[in-house]
């Protein structure tokens, strides 16, 4: 038996090769391991390199464009010169509006699921809705926003239609983050409050939410970043090439950073001439979005440590 197996590679069953075979077998197995570990390490490195490349590309091309005028002036000369101020404001309004809508709804949903609901069919259906909503393509959100908000609710192409569409898209993000936050609150907190005679709602309102609040807000920032970076959902619902005026009502059209980049890069009058503007806008967008993400990641890890200690 052993002789037969020894001749070829060792199997998991017969894992005791004879004394002679041991060194070469072991060496080969170690070599295989070294090779694959190198491969794993390389793939992690490739991801980092990809991020670095994109970051370097945007920063090295974009930084020379950034100036106070670029950030504070509207575009001029058919968008071939000037700044991006209306797009910054537009993106701010859109993402802030989206979070103002998604945060209360998302937090309430998460509270129901984590604090009230019992395991069962209802919870499964709700979770099914969230998981699938998270998987809906962003362009389909755009179609939905166009058909429902712009046309049926008669908002037209407007700030509010864009904010509502983005709110639908960020809802799963907010719910997920809030659920994590609520789960991180130790059950002993709840039990102590209930034992003191507080009702369930008093416990949630006075104990659970305040404890989880920093992490919930972190989730809100993540949602904000997600909403700010999206293009497809606002293409038909809120964004326009160019508007010289800032939105004065929620029914106005707006400019937005991601859409501005897309238009300049693909449909502008002179694509090559506006390259610097594209890079500058991309840099502002990346700093905004990645900055918010980084901030959220750092705050979250601090909070976790604090809650533990």
């Amino acid at each position: 038996m052993r002789k037969m197996k020894k001749t070829d590679h060792p199997t998991t069953i017969d894992n005791k090769p004879s004394a002679h075979a041991l060194p070469s077998h072991l060496a080969r197995r170690r070599a295989v391991q070294a090779f694959f570990f190198f491969l794993f390490r390389t793939s992690a490195f490739i991801n980092a390199a990809a991020l670095f490349l994109v970051g370097y590309f945007v920063i090295s091309n974009g930084y020379s464009v950034i100036s106070w005028d670029f950030l504070s002036k509207p575009p001029t000369d058919s968008m071939t010169k000037g700044g991006i101020m209306p797009a910054i404001i537009g993106t701010f309004y859109l993402s802030a509006g989206a979070i103002l809508i998604a945060l209360p709804v998302g937090v309430a949903s998460a509270i129901y699921m984590n604090e009230y609901a019992r395991k069962g069919r209802v919870l499964r259906i709700i979770r099914f809705g969230i998981n699938n909503l998270a998987g809906v393509p962003s362009i389909v959100f755009g179609l939905f926003g166009l058909a429902f908000f712009c046309i049926v609710l008669k908002t037209g192409v407007s700030l509010i239609a864009g904010a509502l569409t983005l709110a639908a898209l960020t809802l799963p993000v907010v719910i997920g983050a809030t659920e994590e936050a609520l789960k991180a609150v130790p059950d002993t907190y709840r039990e102590a409050s209930l034992a003191l005679g507080a009702t369930k709602w008093q416990t949630i309102y006075r104990v659970v939410i305040p404890t989880a609040l920093p992490e919930i807000l972190t989730g809100a920032i993540l949602g904000l970043g997600r909403a700010a970076g999206e293009t497809a959902p606002i293409m038909f619902t809120a964004a326009v090439y160019f508007t010289p005026i800032l939105p004065s009502s929620i029914f106005d059209e707006v400019m937005a950073l991601p859409y501005h980049i897309y238009v300049l890069a693909t449909a502008g009058i002179n694509i090559a001439e506006t390259r610097p503007l594209q890079y500058g806008t991309a840099l502002v967008l990346i700093v905004l979005v990645c900055g918010m993400n980084l901030f959220a990641i750092i705050v979250r890890s601090r909070m976790r440590k604090k809650l533990k200690g």
Partner: protein, 297 residues
């Protein structure tokens, strides 16, 4: 009396939360409702078979032709090709983070991957247009750099974070006792990973792969900017293509309200929605099975 009033308000608070918690599923239902309301009228101008298997997409011709086959094939090709990059890369990175890297390195690699996920797609599209396209043209000596291959490459990197983080969760949830048993029998760490950890986490990793592909097929800006935009069935990986999301995004602005073209674009939205829905449903089933297995074993 006071007690019952308190109970009543507790019950009504719970009801309010329950109603709000239905927002997600309601939104999902509204999305499908409006897609079908605006998309199904396309069947007045073409049959279902013509729409799905028709080879010619000339929506502005007279009479217009709505054969979405090249668009569906393009989406399929782009997604499949991108999976060739993203699946090995995502899973191997997950293995590295979960099994090999020491804590300090892992704490750097993980946020890096998370940041990769947060890159706005329009910026990735710009990168593909300006950097990758000319690079591909030079290296492969091809006439256009905006093509299926370029789009797949960009999409691949956008799907990696999804695949990586979900696979990592799956790997981490494999109990240590299994690893220890394998190592104690004399297996190397690599053998333990391949023969014990990966099979034990297989359905979790499969979930990761499917969700990553779902992300890739629905991604819009990248395929809009770098796929080339030709509505043809590709013969080579360097052919320009026009996947479904790109078609909707590019043409909706010029499609007159409730015209045949407008309805046809919503119908493409239905096809796309159905694709991602099936992906997500499969992922859901696999994830549930994985959880059950974890609890049972």
């Amino acid at each position: 009396m006071q007690q019952s009033g308190r109970q009543l308000s507790e019950v009504s608070i719970k009801t309010v939360f329950f109603i709000i918690a239905l927002a997600s599923i309601t939104t999902l239902l509204l999305i499908s409702l409006f897609l079908f309301l605006e998309g199904l009228p396309v069947l007045k101008s073409v049959s279902l078979k013509q729409f799905i298997f028709g080879n010619l997409w000339y929506p502005t011709d007279e009479p217009p032709l709505f054969g979405a086959f090249p668009l569906i094939v393009a989406s399929g090709c782009v997604t499949a090709l991108s999976a060739l990059f993203s699946v090995p890369l995502g899973i191997m990175t997950a293995i590295y983070i979960a099994e090999i890297a020491n804590k300090k390195v892992a704490e750097i690699v993980k946020p890096t991957v998370e940041t990769l996920a947060s890159l706005p797609s329009v910026v990735v599209g710009l990168f593909g247009m300006v950097v990758v396209a000319p690079f591909l043209q030079r290296v492969f000596n091809i006439p256009v750099g905006l093509n299926l291959f370029n789009a797949s490459l960009m999409l691949g990197f956008m799907a990696v974070p999804t695949i990586c983080s979900i696979s990592e969760d799956a790997i981490n949830s494999v109990p240590d006792s299994l690893r220890e048993a394998s190592l104690a029998l004399g297996a190397t760490r690599f053998e333990t990973i391949v023969k014990i950890v990966l099979p034990a986490g297989a359905s979790g990793i499969a979930t990761a792969v499917i969700l990553g592909m779902s992300r890739a097929i629905g991604e819009t800006m990248v395929v809009l900017m770098v796929a080339g935009g030709a509505a043809i069935v590709p013969y080579s990986i360097f052919d320009p293509v026009r996947p479904m999301p790109a078609t909707i995004a590019a043409e909706m602005a010029e499609a007159p309200f409730r015209s045949e073209h407008y309805h046809a674009l919503f119908a493409i939205g239905i096809v796309l929605f159905v694709f991602t829905f099936i992906f997500n449903l499969t992922a859901d089933v696999l994830a549930t099975r994985f959880k059950k297995k974890q609890l049972g074993g």
